[in-house]
Subunit: 308 residues, 4 copies
């Protein structure tokens, strides 16, 4: 490795350079924009090849190697790329975001400065209903007539909160204390710097359909607008091998195996044995593991023997 | 080390066992309580002695070793102790707390459950004024007559916010969205688990006078009520060698050295040379580094030659 | 949550208490033993229920909740358990171990003390051959007659290295420098403390068949002897949902789907389209993704249409 | 902040660009070279100003702000800069290096490739003697005549080890096992990526006189050759406020205070009270805390009243 000790040029990505500083709008008043970055698809390869040493330079081609690394959880080469974003996001959403600990953060300080004068507003048609099945999700929308009332009340509350905030400041109250009743919908801003491996992990959790809509909007924008430009080969591999995969548990492998060799009787009896197929006088009882399995079997176009 | 392969008893601390589960009240409706812990003063010693090997068991005594380790930044033995707290804290304060990344956290989920029905209230006499010198601090109190008005308005705003929240829930809005305008003063709860080294770092930053009063209250309680019982020798060493220390910069060492040998002329000229002693027609100009130096000289009972 | 403010007993696990301090032998002269721990299966549940709030206490049963959490990557509740091990391991193996960064470590210091007087020996029949397919693996054993020669040379080299080490110490050379030519097979000792989530991640990587045999021996011992006693429900869920799972990529889902509905022609043409089924005049060319797919199809008892 | 949404140029540092890829030699066959970086002195300021908001742009000048941040432990803005180094270092030294966990690492794999064919050699005059006072340090050199013998033996041992390694490979032994008796002096290579805050922490520990000479050589090179070019203002502040500072403990402040007001009697009696001034029939007993205090008093040109 030492032989190529000549001066190195800094790697850059023209497609990303082109959007440096450009805000991608998210929600009504939020955004994400790239401030700086380090590394490219090529850096992942370069790092993997330090591990593999000299002899391998010709044998693998870059795309194949990147896909292999991602598929087999060789995560360290992806840590060699780093990106710094400037984001504007409601505090409520930021509370979820900040839980990703392996990142560097500088947030706008409302101890030091007056809080950002913007709150996330919800249009009449955008009030999501509580999901019946999933205790932490939403599904469908509240009727717009009702929604209109909620949106009006929201505006009123946000205006009152802001007025109270300024009243305190005007009375000489310290910023660090005046802010205490700002609504969670208040926007904040931050520099957020993270390596590519941990960013992909963030995306895989936050682009997921179980993530809350607001943070999904941010994650989707970061993935589709930014990562896809920055490291297109990694992005493609991520979609193929991480985001859109399907995992079968030890028990599910047995069941699918039975279905694979056409033995639906065995498949059914395994499901029973695992306790996923209990009935009472009203018929089959709901069972979460069976529901998850059925969803997978549907995706794989395999039969579901216990359904008529 | 291998010879003492006999069965080990689990180390415990009777003084801490006695308060396990007991909430220490903080702010009007918050608390901190210990759920579980691992290790004691003795574990720090034990860990250090793995590093040092067998031969040293008799030579140092425990207290001296702990003090030596803390003084000389040998941080890893302190990571061998772990504590798990259950805390109840306003979200505003939690926003600062969560920035300490090297900890394990499970927070009460307002996606999953109805938000805790409590907000931090500010009594009429407790509205702190903005500090004039320190842009991110507070100093003194707003006049109580004014404060009374602010407290009334606070109560009203918090009540309205709660009513709006319940109105949304009643209209079928999902919990994850209904919460978006809760005030930052809303209490949340969390399990927070951290090792002793990182806890001491948290305390050294958050017991500091520049920390915001609310989080200082929590940090002080954790330190004085909990750490002092859990690892009393470490706690004492922490106060002596970390919390209540005074650090002189490279430049300050030179100045104190001049004062040490009685050469105030030299001390004064150094201060000038560093650019900390500039005047204009209104007299000496404010200078932050000079102010910090003067504070240190006062603590050390040394003269300040540029003052009359 | 605050109501049960009565004194808490510290959770403990009798099955683990019984083996506290007991060394489990690994390799010829290594071991792993538990020094201390915090938390149990129940702590995982308890932590998840802080997230979920009060209302859910009766609805789910513990085992189901733990299995749900593990299956759906809710990792934070598993971070609430912590374990501290004392290990004795060759430095070569330790070099891999230490790469797991989210752990606390105190290693025996050969700057401070004389190096542990033991090296890992390889018996004549235990020299593993280089794997032909996998550049970083081994497969099968070198002929024992040859192995005998290698083992003799190993013993000689290790003895010489030790003699040189002592010669340096006898000449007054500092320990920190005298150690510089110790062989990587030299044993070291460490206290290693880690939370259950990160320990499971360690196990999932190091119990894997692609991990090097030596560290697999340690990981297997930690899993089967220690975690299985400490948190038996988590351990079972880990085997079912993490260690022994099978993941299908986006592309593989399409292929299995075609096979699922009996369309082998489509399955075959997809494999071709993905570029995994290229031939030259010697027949089908080796292709790593196809090989991985075939392995999965075999596990699922599904047909492989491009094979005769 | 949002207004300056125009395209951003990527920040770069010409003085660092000039040495990109250039190896700085360390030890006999090691090196450190910069592969890539992100951010500059200006990025620290930029990040701090996200925290401080818009209003402050004119008031502070950059140098003063950076110095303020470093002095007052505002560490997060320094995390906004990142650097990636390629290093070549003996495994013995790497064992210490890798203990800094907050970094990204890709190391040359001797499972995958043949080990680097180089070991660190010690010249006859470079064998350091064990320090008498400090159990983990060295002091002075072994007589060169003796050293010559040690160096010869070293060469012989390293050659034998290498021969044994190749003999194993020639016999078909897997690389992962053949390497097990390589000496710790064998060079390895790695990509090491770290943010500026954690790099400064690495430097403050490893440029310290108590660090082992070998890693001090690397740390010194990284600091003086690389960081000084990359972020010259941060580097200067680091020297002034972190590396070359002096910290007085709570007890020492009292003593210096007494000396400050000329009360040597009080100073002496405090030292006695703290138990640092015990005598036996041979005179004053050695005491580590007193020795540390005396060293500080000497640096501050203050009198030591208990010395004649």
């Amino acid at each position: 490795m030492t032989e190529n000790a000549e001066r190195l040029p800094r790697l850059n990505v023209p497609a990303l350079d082109e959007i440096l500083g450009k805000p991608f709008k998210v929600l009504d008043d939020g955004f994400v924009r790239v401030i700086d970055y380090m590394g490219t698809d090529e850096s992942v390869v370069q790092a993997a090849r330090v591990s593999y040493g000299r002899g391998t330079k010709k044998t693998s081609e870059d795309r194949g190697l990147i896909r292999y690394l991602l598929r087999h959880r060789h995560t360290t080469p992806f840590e060699m790329c780093e990106i710094k974003l400037h984001i504007r996001v409601p505090m409520d959403c930021w509370r979820q975001w900040i839980r990703h600990r392996t990142a560097n953060v500088n947030e706008y300080s409302t101890r030091y400065s007056i809080a950002v004068d913007a709150t996330q507003r919800t249009p009449a048609g955008a009030w999501r209903k509580q999901a019946p099945g999933n205790k932490q999700g939403s599904e469908g929308y509240v009727d717009e007539t009702v929604g209109r009332g909620l949106s009006l009340k929201e505006e009123e509350l946000q205006n009152t909160s802001r007025a109270v905030y300024h009243e305190r400041l005007d009375a000489g109250v310290s910023r660090e204390q005046a802010r205490k009743d700002l609504p969670l919908s208040t926007f904040t801003e931050a520099y957020w710097k993270i390596d590519l491996h941990n960013l992909l992990r963030f995306l895989s959790l936050r682009m997921d359909e179980r993530a809350q809509q607001e943070i999904r909007d941010y994650a989707g924008t970061i993935g589709r607008e930014i990562v896809s430009r920055w490291c297109p080969i990694v992005w493609e591999a991520f979609l193929d091998y991480q985001l859109e995969t399907l995992t079968l548990s030890r028990l599910e492998i047995e069941i699918v195996g039975a279905l694979g060799r056409g033995d639906s009787e065995k498949a059914r009896s395994l499901v029973e044995e695992f306790g996923w197929l209990r009935s009472d006088d009203k018929g089959l009882k709901a069972n979460r593991e069976r529901a998850e399995l059925e969803e997978k079997l549907e995706r794989l176009d395999l039969p579901i023997p216990w359904r008529k």
